[in-house]
Symmetry: C2
Subunit: 453 residues, 2 copies
């Protein structure tokens, strides 16, 4: 009768140890966001489909999880329409709501809906799950968390500087060495302008990105193949072979882009951000990288991407400046800039490098064994003192065999076991055992709190 | 073109101040759960409909939010079936997944799926949203949080004692005065047995509950109306007029239930729980209340319910012991006991009584004004020191009018404003203004951290 239960493909249960690790990640990110004056908001898991549809491209519309209307969802649909079996078209009749696909569109909707109550510049962060009906595969889930910080309503490049500081601080706290890569949409636009090939910018960045792997000659061949004329490829040479310090790179780029106003604006923005970040001191390297072409249709200024140096994995954080987030909802001209941390990938990185501080993932500090009713009653009083002192403590609830109780402590990674048998009870003592070292000492019951503090 | 955006009925956006308050509530509950050795788990927002259907009654099935299958959801449905327009029956063809309706069924599913990896007794807590397609109304939402702590795999009544301590500690920390009411399913069963009316137990508790309002005579009349014979009503008299201390009540009940083994077991359980809780000392009153009939089909032992004393609102926490949570998934005989905190109602109570500790809902502590590029660069350095010291601090990103910047600090409830104009910059000083008192002092820039610590 009862069938073996399962969970939907691409979703996950999180066990206590996994939750402790995830909480460590979320709390670290949250603390850094807070230190920089970003405030948390939350939006509903469900949005109206009219809010979500058409915001993520045609493919995105298909990947939205749609929620069937309650009650008679056939209402208002003719038999003829039904029999067309047009699943995409009828979805919008069967369903009015969908699950959040990212945090960006709901944030834009939030800003527009609450514009009268908000202080601009508005600095918000949001840490919530999103859902995508993607084909599940290793490291790709249908429900996963995004951690976004954005400021809207300010053009100041100090925001970019601070977001870089935040990335730097988050990964420093994790103990993960990263390269923070930066590009600027305006520089890319400038390059396209200068060589007269505005539509080829993606081909160009893709080709340049291969320089280390395939060499200059092959990069140039690829550019020619993509339809770039010889003079454009010639003009590109200094950009393709770009190297040196960020300063040196900017000098080279500035020479190439001299004639492009937009391009020079991009150079200037990069200079400001790089020099300010350098003056404040970063723990991680900040590197100008023209091959960074993340979200090209979306970003209008700085573009960021973060790579872990000691683990082979895709980008673990990224972001940039956009100029018209809220335009889709009828509130044009609001510039913003933001970053996003990929919690699931960061989790994989921290797992691989085993970087969780011990105290951050500890649960119960001490288990009091249950060796009889009177002994347990005595332990219940000790527990009150321990918890008053902020020490996570528990009693084994049943008077089970000692071996079973010790097994429970071991299985849960509890650091200490406190034993009150009849002898200890008579003397008002406790035997305290360190589960890691195996050391064991007999102490006065009143000393238990201080022994564990 | 752009339409004014909205969110689905019964859902909410949470602003920074609302989030700060909600986080204070969740964190307080989380800390108490942790102090008692409960560990956090999370389950996916979506469960297979086969996991959810039939677990909440016929009405519950209708209130499940169902997620439409991706791709061609018409697949496998004949035209004839389609034209029946049977929305309930076809829902299970269109949809394989649904949103979590509570935390209990997913927890049961979790325990059964992970039984081999878990340590029993398994003490878990879970703080996650649930979704119900209820008609939205004041105080009732379609997405809301539940905060549950349960222990499964232990019969010990020490669990009940600790759960009462946890309720007591949570509300003490909130500063909310509550009455913790307790009943026991076995006592109710005993009463029904003794008067020979097993099926009338709900009618009896409903009638008894009205004693204060309608008086003894009317209660007895109502019982007669519900079909209770005169001798049964006579036997019930001591129970209806039950009063005095918990001890006195238990003595009276024990006399009535002498002949019922189950009833006497209930009395014994109550005695153990009450005497142990009393010995440990509670801040709030724990009261035996036979009219408590919460979840009668579900609970098998102790039943808890918590009422706020200073605010008119329904129950703000509750729980009890159940004996067959995991049976529906093919794992019988696992006893458990748990409590649940109603975060949304607690939020309403704390709002009404204005009980948020100031420091718990503070965002940014100090705003550094932006009075020019050099001044801002100087401030960016000060910000590094402040954040290193754990002080939430931000700079107004744009060099806007002073009034606008001060308005931002006011609007966001920021406690201090630090002003570095050209004079201060030349002297290495900062003017620090307390936004609440209006007080203002000129200090050395190096003193800023200590002045704000």
């Amino acid at each position: 009768m009862a069938t073996k239960p399962s969970i939907p493909k691409g979703t996950r249960d999180f066990s206590p140890i996994e939750m402790a690790r995830r909480n460590y990640i979320f709390n670290t990110i949250r603390q850094v966001f807070g230190l920089f004056g970003y405030n948390q908001i939350e939006t509903p898991s469900m949005e109206n489909l009219s809010t979500l549809m058409g915001k993520y491209g045609e493919e995105g519309d298909k990947l939205l999880f749609k929620i069937q209307n309650s009650g008679d969802y056939f209402n208002g649909i003719t038999d003829e329409e039904l029999l067309t079996r047009n699943s995409l078209k009828l979805a919008s009749k069967f369903c009015e709501k969908g699950l959040r696909y990212d945090l960006t569109v709901p944030f834009a909707r939030f800003v527009v809906m609450h514009r009268e109550e908000l202080q601009f510049p508005f600095k918000r962060y949001q840490i919530q799950p999103v859902w995508r009906a993607d084909r599940p595969q290793k490291g790709r889930y249908r429900e996963f968390y995004q951690c976004d910080a954005d400021v809207v309503g300010s053009d100041s490049l100090l925001n970019e500087v601070e977001l870089i500081q935040m990335i730097d601080m988050v990964f420093s706290r994790f103990g993960v060495r990263v390269a923070i890569k930066m590009n600027n949409r305006k520089i890319l636009t400038g390059i396209a302008e200068v060589i007269g090939q505005a539509d080829k910018i993606v081909d160009i960045t893709v080709a340049i990105d291969k320089l280390d792997k395939i060499g200059l000659e092959n990069v140039n061949a690829e550019l020619a193949e993509k339809g770039l004329p010889a003079d454009a490829i010639a003009k590109l040479q200094p950009i393709i072979e770009l190297n040196g310090s960020n300063e040196e790179k900017l000098e080279t780029i500035a020479k190439v882009l001299e004639s492009s106003e937009t391009g020079m604006k991009g150079v200037e923005e990069c200079r400001f951000i790089l020099s300010n970040a350098a003056a404040l001191g970063l723990n991680n390297e900040l590197e100008l990288d023209l091959t960074l072409a993340r979200g090209l249709n979306y970003y209008t200024g700085a573009i960021f991407e973060v790579k872990a140096l000691d683990v082979q994995i895709g980008s673990i954080s990224g972001g940039g400046r956009y100029d018209n987030l809220t335009g889709i909802f009828g509130m044009p001209g609001v510039s913003g800039v933001g970053i996003s941390f990929g919690a699931d990938r960061i989790y994989d990185v921290l797992n691989q490098l085993d970087l969780y501080p011990k105290e951050s993932v500890n649960g119960t500090k001490v288990l009091l064994l249950n060796l009889g009713q009177d002994e347990a009653a005595f332990c219940m009083k000790l527990l009150c003192d321990l918890r008053k002192a902020g020490i996570s403590a528990e009693i084994y609830p049943d008077n089970a065999k000692m071996k079973k109780q010790m097994g429970y402590a071991n299985g849960n990674g509890i650091q200490y076991v406190a034993i009150v048998g009849s002898d200890e009870l008579a003397q008002g003592k406790v035997t305290l055992k360190n589960m890691e070292s195996g050391e064991q000492q007999l102490i006065d019951a009143q000393e238990l709190v201080s022994a564990l503090s």
